[in-house]
């Protein structure tokens, strides 16, 4: 009998986890990872941080060194786009129309940046930030005292602003909503980030719609609907991502804001699995369908997918967590805050740079934003998963160790 073939589409963080885990769990067949970019899987979070500011090289951000894949007999085919899945014949079509047969297929195709359609968006000096190549290009436009305008005050926008500020640039962040991080944090936390960015010399302008980017050979300014104009040698647009679901949808797989998978990471076709940013999956802790953009989900769901393929099914149930580094702020987020009714702050959010925001619903913790507060982050995870009933006054009382509330 011919060797079985598992093809992993997308050389992403999830792929770097699925492939060696498959081998580790006993998959004896061929493993091929097909990726569009010419790089082995790498950590994306440093792209807007240490990689942009220059303290880490490409080699530093590879998830695993080449020798690991060699040892696990994992093949890579890079610079290739998969154009179709033929489920009836169990084969995929590559961009050169070549067909490759699979026994198991894993879609770790991730997400792509949301683009904005305004005049000047295609001028040199205007970028999105998702891939190594984006940052390599951006680096040609950075430099002391030059002007950078960031469109979008989400995590990517603010992290990028902090990194560019470190490089000595004059940085402006333009946000369409009334406050930065509006989609993800409480107003108190948004105000905190605005304050720190201002203290570090970043200009933040909210409630402002970008109308056009003007320039000649390259970007020169960003013009807003109210007429405000900001000079720009470099424009970076960070307004969110869209899951890559087209390949799955075209193959007739269930798609609903992400490729729909069950708790074993299986799509509606059980020989095709999916993991990471591209999936929509059920989370038992929050009792609802989620699509997450996070390393944690990419890793944990990828492990689940590999176990399923190896016949060691284990249902996926993990507490989502995220992090964001800006200046000297280390933000760790445990859980998801959607539906919160109260926010309790522990620490000095007004003048300091270290506090935790607990998001509560019915006296239970839904999520925690911990800024330079690793203890609150770690213990917060337990408050959430153990569904502890908490007292707001006690949570905010720093004279009492948080650990005691868990006892």
């Amino acid at each position: 009998m011919a060797k079985q073939h598992c093809i992993i589409v997308g050389a992403s963080h999830a792929a770097a986890q699925v492939a060696p885990t498959l081998r580790q769990q006993g998959w004896e067949g061929t493993i091929t990872v097909i990726g569009q970019e010419y790089f082995l899987p790498y950590h994306r979070p440093p792209l807007s941080k240490d990689f942009l500011s220059g303290t880490k090289s490409i080699d530093n951000i590879l998830i695993r060194q080449p020798a690991v894949y060699e040892k696990s007999r994992i093949r890579f085919a890079l610079g290739i786009t998969v154009s179709a899945i033929d489920r009836a014949n169990k084969r995929i079509t590559l961009d050169d129309n070549e067909h490759v047969a699979y026994d198991k297929l894993v879609l770790t195709v991730g997400a792509r940046v949301r683009k904005i359609d305004i005049p000047g968006a295609d001028l040199p000096g205007v970028f999105y930030l998702r891939n190594i190549n984006d940052v390599l290009q951006i680096k040609h436009f950075t430099g002391k005292a030059k002007n950078a305008v960031i469109v979008g005050g989400g995590y990517i926008g603010l992290e990028t602003a902090a990194s560019l500020r470190k490089l000595g640039m004059d940085v402006t962040v333009l946000e369409a909503m009334p406050r930065v991080l509006q989609r993800v944090t409480a107003p108190e936390v948004s105000s905190f980030y605005t304050r720190v960015h201002n203290e570090e010399g970043v200009r933040i302008v909210t409630d402002t719609q970008v109308e056009a980017i003007t320039g000649g050979k390259g970007a020169e300014a960003v013009v807003c609907k109210n007429g405000d104009t900001f000079p720009a040698d470099l424009v970076i647009i960070g307004v969110g991502v869209i899951p890559n679901t087209e390949l799955a949808a075209d193959a007739g797989l269930a798609v609903d804001n992400g490729i729909v998978v069950d708790e074993y990471a299986r799509t509606s076709d059980h020989d095709i699995l999916a993991a990471g940013d591209c999936t929509s999956h059920f989370n038992p802790i929050y009792n609802r369908q989620l699509r997450l953009e996070s390393v944690q989900n990419a890793l944990d769901q990828a492990t689940i997918a590999a176990l399923t393929i190896c016949g060691k099914e284990k249902p996926y149930s993990a507490l989502p967590w995220f992090w964001s580094d800006q200046f000297d702020l280390k933000l760790q987020i445990a859980g998801l805050n959607q539906g919160y009714t109260d926010v309790v702050i522990r620490g000095d959010i007004q003048g300091g740079r270290s506090f935790a925001a607990f998001y509560l619903q019915d006296n239970r913790v839904l999520a925690v934003d911990a800024i330079n507060r690793p203890q609150e982050f770690m213990l917060g995870k337990r408050f959430i998963t153990e569904k502890k009933v908490v007292d707001a006054a006690q949570l905010s009382d720093e004279s009492k160790p948080l650990k005691d509330l868990l006892a």
Partner: protein, 106 residues
Amino acid sequence: MPTVVYVKHDGSSEEVHVENGTSVMQGAVDNMIDGILGDCGGTCSCATCHCYVDEAWVEKAGVPGEMEKDLLTCVLNPEANSRLSCQIIVNDELDGLVVKLPESQF
């Protein structure tokens, strides 16, 4: 290339070569050693690479930084010799380093 010995909770151990300048966490990730996750890639953000440094090596492995210390107070079963393995960078001095892995990472 220095050698690092990873001792699992069940007492079994794996000895692997880890390049100078690489963290003990990366050495584990590169060798698919269970018990060290290293989700954040070594930025001291996640505390999923907790290990216990063998008593004989504690001094050479150095002391944890402030952020690391805070994270360590919240891992499961912290001990005096607890470290986050992403913060221990391998060098010739650490050739033969022995680290024990916790039963599970949170």
